[in-house]
């Protein structure tokens, strides 16, 4: 069993933590823990991209799946980019075409949804991958916030 990694009770590393949200793992890289940071980066971005590959960009949806998105947004701007792609490409009908779906309120006109929208397990698993990527990046950000810099030359508060 490996020992727990080093962390400090001193000043918090706010800038590396912020950079860790913008690019997962970058906080650790700035603090001089390059291997650690690049591995975390690979894991988080790999999970997120795998989620979008399996579920399509529809699995990141800020408006329709807000609760999922709150955690997915932990992965950083990549989650907002996927949501933008979903809104700009699928929901406008630029890719695929829009079809009427059964209305939840019969007095209103039927809402239009993209023909690429599905309720398959693939979509749900994709959502789960992106969700896990976002949650794990929050763990990585919290780690960067408290981790001791590897050397005096590394970023310090």
């Amino acid at each position: 069993m490996a020992q727990q990694s080093d962390s400090v009770d001193g000043p918090l590393n706010w800038f590396p933590a912020l950079m860790g949200w913008i690019l997962p793992g970058m906080g650790q890289v700035l603090l001089g823990h390059r291997q650690r940071g690049y591995r975390a980066m690979g894991g988080i971005l790999g999970m997120f991209l795998a989620g979008v590959l399996v579920g399509g960009v529809d699995c990141v949806d800020r408006r329709e799946d807000a609760l999922w998105f709150y955690a997915q947004a932990g992965a950083g701007p990549v989650a907002f980019a996927a949501d933008w792609a979903n809104s700009a490409l699928l929901k406008t009908g630029k890719v695929g075409h829009l079809i009427p779906s059964p209305p939840s309120n019969p007095r209103l006109p039927p809402p239009q949804v993209t023909s690429f929208k599905t309720v398959t397990m693939s979509n749900e698993i994709g959502t789960l991958f992106c969700f896990a990527a976002g949650l794990m990046n929050i763990v990585v950000i919290l780690d960067a916030l408290r981790r001791q810099p590897a050397s005096p030359k590394a970023w310090t508060a």
């Binding site: 490996a2 020992q3 727990q4 990694s5 080093d6 793992g25 650790q28 291997q35 650690r36 940071g37 591995r39 975390a40 690979g42 894991g43 988080i44 790999g46 999970m47 795998a50 979008v52 590959l53 399996v54 579920g55 399509g56 960009v57 529809d58 699995c59 490409l89 699928l90 890719v95 695929g96 690429f116 599905t118 398959t120 397990m121 693939s122 979509n123 698993i125 994709g126 789960l128 991958f129 896990a132 990527a133 794990m136 990046n137 763990v139 990585v140 780690d143």
Partner: protein
């Protein structure tokens, strides 16, 4: 096969997975293990071995939970009296 040919990656869901969707549990757990070990361990020596061990252990535990649910649904529930 035709499902794969018509699939547009990153835009359409990968429906060709069919009933094999649950196998994606393995890469999901692997991804979590990669990140968990990267932030948790003091040293990066032997990192991939520990990632592999965590992946195998977590998948085995999830598999046992799935087996328990399977047995409960298909063996225990049919024994319950309906009246």
């Amino acid at each position: 096969m035709s499902g794969i040919l018509a699939w547009i990656p990153f835009l359409q869901p990968m429906t060709a997975l069919g009933n094999g969707w649950w196998l994606l549990m393995v890469p999901l757990v692997f991804g979590v293990a990669v990140v968990h070990r990267a932030v948790q361990d003091a040293s990066m020596e032997g990192y991939w071995g520990r990632v592999l061990r965590l992946t195998v252990k977590a998948n085995a535990i999830l598999g046992l939970i799935a087996l328990a649910f399977f047995l409960f649904v298909y063996l225990v529930i049919p024994l319950l009296r309906a009246d």
